[in-house]
Symmetry: C2
Subunit: 122 residues, 2 copies
């Protein structure tokens, strides 16, 4: 779960719970989320292939294992699709460069403001 800027953490969570998501907004959010996840997985596949191709010593084999375990846990933690926290998840993805704000074009102004506030505050 992404970290929240204080002091309004409680406010943001209860505000997010009360937000209504239109079908169009759900589609936009889901698409941006899925694209980011897809890009991150593709990048991890490329990196794993490169690391494997470079292996010469057994130690590097177990290093590849640790790399994959770490990436799996990071990706699991980062990509949580639940509407109650989705704006913060999207904001985190924007902040980390996984999603471009343009990809969220079409979300309601209040939602975009929460995302922008969280990006700026992080």
């Amino acid at each position: 779960m992404p970290s929240l800027p204080t002091p309004s953490a409680q406010d943001v969570y209860s505000k997010m719970r009360d937000l209504h998501w239109s079908p169009k907004e759900k589609t936009i959010a889901r698409r941006a989320f899925d694209r980011a996840l897809h890009r991150e997985l593709e990048a991890t596949i490329r990196e794993a292939k490169q690391r494997a191709a470079r292996i010469k010593e057994p130690d590097e084999l177990w290093e590849l294992e640790r790399y994959l375990t770490r990436r799996r846990k990071e990706i699991d933690a980062k990509y949580e699709f639940k509407y109650s926290v989705l704006l913060l998840v999207l904001a985190d993805l924007v902040r980390k460069g996984c999603i471009n704000l343009d990809e969220l074009h079409g979300l309601g102004e209040e939602k975009l403001r929460i995302i922008r506030d969280h990006v700026a505050a992080a």
Copy 2:
């Protein structure tokens, strides 16, 4: 630890504990053990490279992770260099085709008999 044929398990263990290893025998056993471990690690590196090169989908990435974890645990369990159980470890490696009996040429007859008995009984 390798499994032992009953009913003489206790006998074999106490017999092994009492065996004396000459410096020459230690060298022979260590060399055969190290060569087998080296071959197994090399084969695992080759297999990991091939699996990585074939990856197209994210699922195959985590499959590679599981493969590496499994191989690491198998290799850890299989290669235990302790003189108190070494003959059974070597016998297991012979049985699995990781060591050729010829590589153990030079060990005392009693040691070779314990190895051969264990290979035959398994």
